[in-house]
């Protein structure tokens, strides 16, 4: 029995980990349209013309390679209008001149209206950070 105890303990830890893997909320994929479901489509425009309307590209979260690319961009210049509908990082929140900044590592975001929705876009680092 004594020799089985570490083994049983390891199995129980492994079971908990398995449960955690299967039932943890998938916050990273959380989007307004639901995971894996696209809400877009040119039928959404109600246009009388058949032209395709492309909704603004809203990304669920900044990917690691995007974060790396952002770091290399000169501070003070607005970056591309890539936007995210949710930030899943551990955010630092500060208010500078009436604007709320959300920091993920060295990358900073503002909430803005883009395509009629509140999204996060990458902005210049606020002074002092």
């Amino acid at each position: 029995m004594m020799t089985l105890r570490p083994l049983l303990s390891a199995i129980s830890v492994f079971s908990v980990l398995l449960l955690f893997m299967f039932f943890i909320p998938d916050t990273e994929a959380r989007g307004r349209g639901g995971k894996g479901v696209s809400r877009s489509g040119h039928a959404s425009s109600g246009s009388f013309r058949g032209v395709k309307h492309h909704r603004p590209a809203v990304h669920h979260r900044p990917a690691a390679h995007q974060r790396a690319r952002h770091r290399s961009v000169r501070v003070g210049i607005r970056l591309s209008p890539r936007s995210y509908n949710v930030l899943t990082c551990r955010r630092t929140i500060i208010i500078h001149r009436g604007i709320t900044y959300y920091g993920c590592g060295t990358v900073w975001y503002n909430q803005v209206y883009y395509g009629g929705q509140v999204t996060y876009i990458v902005v210049a680092t606020p002074p002092g950070y």
Binding site: V37, R97, I99, Y114, T119, I121
Partner: protein, 257 residues
């Protein structure tokens, strides 16, 4: 285009009579209905809308929203949309300012913008990248634009929609099939329309069911004036893509909430 119009084929005719669409009585009925809106100084409506979103595997999923629009020409509009997923958006334009407000986020944005309703709607679509189905009825020449889009059309017959006796008309061009049900008694207001994007393999549809029309809505000072709710946070509009080299400017001191 009207110049290349083909035939209007009444569904009940044994031998379809080929007439230029421009002279077709069914087109004139559509024209009368759309002109009623474009000539109206002010009106409001509530509508239920739905559209197919075609997934990568071809499955169609319907999303939709309830929309309310109040239009006061030449330069005022209030739009409220309530999506089925709970997202709400209120947009107000009063000829001087545009405001956005999303109650679920309790955020809002305000920016200066002068001009007519047409100027605002162009700005909304081209610069702010916001697609507001049905907002196109606010264009001064909406009827003219819509009419130019159809090559053929005919009357399917009379049809009762939501207990309202309507004329059921269908039109098409090389890109869409358009169906409209127009109220037979009183003002020829649209009761329902359906657009099928037929060039898409899955042929998705956009449909509108007009629930309530008011051609003389009561408009108060607050209708086109946005007052931020207590506790709401002011944010900005995304910088225009055409101004990508500009910096993201902080709010001016006097604009701070």
């Amino acid at each position: 285009m009207l110049t290349s119009a083909v035939a209007a084929v009444p569904v009940h005719a044994k031998e379809p009579q080929r007439t230029a669409l421009a002279d077709d009585p069914h087109l004139s009925l559509l024209k009368r209905s759309l002109n009623l809106l474009t000539n109206q100084k002010q009106f409001s409506f509530t509508a239920e809308t739905g559209y197919d979103s075609v997934q990568e595997d071809g499955q169609k999923i319907e999303f939709g929203s309830r929309r309310r629009l109040i239009i006061h020409r030449p330069d005022r509009i209030r739009m409220e949309s309530h999506d089925r997923n709970g997202h709400q958006l209120q947009i107000i334009y009063n000829g001087k300012e545009i405001s956005f407000f999303t109650p679920r986020d309790n955020k809002y944005a305000i920016k200066s913008k002068t001009g007519t309703l047409d100027d605002f709607l162009n700005h909304l679509v081209n610069d702010l990248k916001v697609q507001i189905p049905l907002a196109q009825v606010g264009y001064k020449n909406f009827a003219e634009i819509a009419m130019k889009d159809f090559d053929t059309g005919f009357k399917v017959g009379e049809s009762v929609v939501a207990e309202i006796l309507c004329d059921h008309l269908v039109f098409r061009n090389d890109q869409i099939d358009f169906q409209i049900w127009i109220r037979k008694s009183g003002d020829p207001l649209p009761v329902r329309w359906v657009i099928t994007y037929k060039n898409d393999e899955s042929q998705p549809q956009f449909w509108v069911q007009f629930i309530e029309w008011d051609l003389n809505p009561r408009i108060e000072d607050s209708t086109f004036t946005f007052t931020p709710p207590k506790g709401a946070e002011r944010i900005q509009f995304a910088p225009l893509e055409s101004a990508s080299s500009q910096e993201m400017e902080p709010l001016k001191r006097e604009e701070q909430p």
